[in-house]
């Protein structure tokens, strides 16, 4: 069974169509990255997969469950979200922040169970957050903060994780660190990743599959290496892109006219 099944999806904002007739099937335990120029509809698409946007037409199923028929708590046990600009509330500890990921399990009127706390501790340890788990979240650096937000999503124990530009604002080392952590989750835990990325080089290196979106439509869909090397990419971005092989990895370089 596919982890994410999108059929003829159309999403609108008022009279404007943001995503139009998109059909995608994403296998379990794979990494699918959505790329495309600004305004292509990438964020709209992943937010709809996360259940945050109203579907105008078509359907989305997560692990076989239709998204529109799920209650919020049921949905939060199937798909988690790392937003592009997460809100970090001052005064909350890192542990409490990561624990928010367990709310879908213990509810709003009960305290986290021993099992919930154990899962949070495991996530904190796996993401190397234990050393500052009692610190105020606003004291963290950008990289630590993004690890913490990822920790909250992993604490939701979902099979599908949706990430909207998860490395925005991070330096190169922290960009790689976050993506490597995700790759480990995909390889070791069978997590399914649906992400948007602007960096085509990193998108090509980490994803199993790339989907090129433009003006709300799927233009290209295939193995990462094929999509990165397609001439369609330059056309859709409206610029000259070259792909250079560096030690077996594709590096996408914009060339000035």
């Amino acid at each position: 069974m596919n982890a994410v099944e999108i059929r003829d999806l159309t999403v609108k904002a008022g009279s404007a169509t943001l995503v139009s007739d998109v059909t995608l099937s994403i296998e379990s335990g794979t990494w699918c990255t959505i790329v495309g120029p600004n305004g292509a509809g990438k964020t709209t698409l992943v937010e709809t997969v996360a259940g945050l946007r109203r579907i105008a037409k078509g359907s989305i199923a997560i692990s076989g469950h239709s998204l529109s028929s799920l209650h919020e708590r049921e949905r939060a046990r199937l798909v988690s979200l790392v937003p592009q600009h997460p809100e970090v509330p001052s005064g909350m500890t890192v542990r409490d922040y990561v624990s928010l990921g367990r709310v879908a399990y213990h509810g709003l009127l009960r305290a986290p169970s021993a099992g919930d706390r154990r899962i949070v501790e495991t996530v904190l340890e796996r993401l190397s957050l234990l050393e500052f788990c009692d610190r105020d979240v606003v004291t963290l650096s950008g990289g630590e903060r993004q690890r913490m937000v990822l920790g909250r999503a992993l604490a939701q124990s979902t099979m599908v994780i949706v990430l909207d530009e998860p490395i925005t604002g991070l330096d190169l080392r922290h960009q790689m660190e976050i993506l490597e952590l995700l790759k480990t989750e995909v390889q070791e835990c069978g997590l399914t990743v649906v992400a948007t990325l602007h960096d085509l080089t990193l998108a090509g290196q980490f994803a199993d599959r790339l989907v090129l979106l433009d003006k709300g439509n799927v233009v290209l869909d295939g193995p990462a290496r094929e999509v990165v090397r397609s001439p369609e990419l330059s056309e859709r971005y409206g610029m000259n892109l070259r792909v250079v092989d560096v030690d077996g990895s594709d590096v996408v370089v914009p060339v000035r006219h």
Binding site: L81, P83, S90, M92, L100, L108, D134, V138
Partner: protein, 346 residues
């Protein structure tokens, strides 16, 4: 540098001291007054009512304690607790440090209702007995209008609701001003006294009238602490975590508004309690609403009973309006809070 969130030990100490302060405030509320009755005799009388020892109070002293001071003190507890927890809840649900229980038009609606009752009664000396009922109805109509106008109920967002509250409040306040302008100077004076808030007319009837509302609404507000903590990450992220944000918002706004309307109908408009108490508690125990809301209940109750004790003793035998005392104490504290650079609401 930002300090780490308060430890559990610190929270326990603050909670304990607040409860001790609350007990002291209750004793002050029963003991302090123009008629001097010894503290231990009053305490002994209280214990005699639960079968421990025997009372040494005269009939008149017992009447002063149980028919004047006790209902006043209990109504003060209820008002302080409700306004504080409602203020804290509003600040959490709207993620706005300036939110208070009157944000969605409760004050303006209750003020219009009370003014209508007082002006409609003509030139009598006493405030009409139906004033609380009309104030309550005015408050509920105002909040309902805000809810319906501010984005058609369940589809609204927090900002739209606040703006709708501002509009409804402005409209109702202008209607109230018009009514006052058309009335006699005697009525204007009585409306003014009501607007400043007072516990002077407290009796067991008013306590039993508001108690069910305050008990239920306080319980709902306190129980919403975990939801408000989750909602501090914003609406979209809360939804992705499994929260039905709009339903939660509806329940906590309804509970806060209903409880506030009940209290305002009984004691008038007491300002500052609902805004400063949650802020003071937040400074002491951190930003988690699971801590802020229950401690605000006790802290607010303590604060208002102390304020009322000051209001009725500083210029005895006449009384200061309670709203004046809470503002005189509250304004400097509020200025102090505003001068702190660190964000105080998440």
């Amino acid at each position: 540098m930002v300090a780490n969130p308060p430890t559990r030990r610190r929270v326990a100490i603050v909670a304990t001291l607040t409860v001790v302060g609350l007990v002291v405030a209750m004793v002050c509320g029963m003991v302090v007054g123009p008629t001097s009755i010894g503290t231990w005799r009053v305490i002994g009388d209280v214990f005699s009512h639960v079968g421990i020892g025997r009372s040494t109070l005269s009939g008149l002293q017992s009447t002063i304690i149980w028919q004047l001071r006790a209902p006043r003190m209990v109504l003060g507890l209820l008002a302080g607790a409700m306004l504080s927890v409602a203020g804290g809840t509003y600040q959490g649900v709207f993620r706005n440090p300036l939110a208070d229980p009157y944000l969605l038009g409760v004050a303006a609606g209750a003020g219009l209702g009370a003014t209508f009752a007082i002006v409609g009664a003509g030139t009598g000396v006493a405030t009409p007995t139906w004033t609380p009922l009309l104030a309550f109805l005015g408050a509920m109509v105002a909040v309902s209008c805000t809810w319906l106008i501010g984005g058609r109920g369940m589809r609204s967002n927090a900002s739209t609701l606040i703006l709708a509250g501002v509009a409804v409040s402005a409209m109702l306040t202008s209607m109230q001003t018009f009514l006052q302008q058309q009335s006699s100077s005697n009525s204007i004076a009585r409306v003014y006294i009501w607007l400043l808030g007072s516990l002077a007319s407290a009796n067991w009837h008013s306590v039993t009238m508001v108690l069910p509302y305050v008990a239920l609404c306080t319980l709902i507000c306190v129980a919403s602490g975990r939801a408000l903590d989750v909602m501090s990450v914003g609406e979209d992220e809360s939804r992705s975590l499994g929260i039905r944000v709009r339903q939660v918002r509806f329940v906590v706004i309804a509970a806060s508004s209903l409880g506030t309307a009940a209290i305002v109908s009984a004691v008038g408009l007491i300002g500052f309690v609902g805004i400063i108490v949650p802020h003071i508690v937040r400074l002491l125990v951190g930003t988690s609403y699971r801590r802020i809301l229950p401690i605000s209940v006790a802290f607010g109750a303590m604060f208002l009973v102390f304020a009322d004790t000051i209001a009725r003793t500083v210029m005895a035998p006449s009384e200061l309006p309670l709203g004046v005392v809470t503002a005189v104490i509250g304004a400097p504290v509020f200025v102090l809070i505003l001068s702190l650079r660190r964000p105080i609401v998440r």
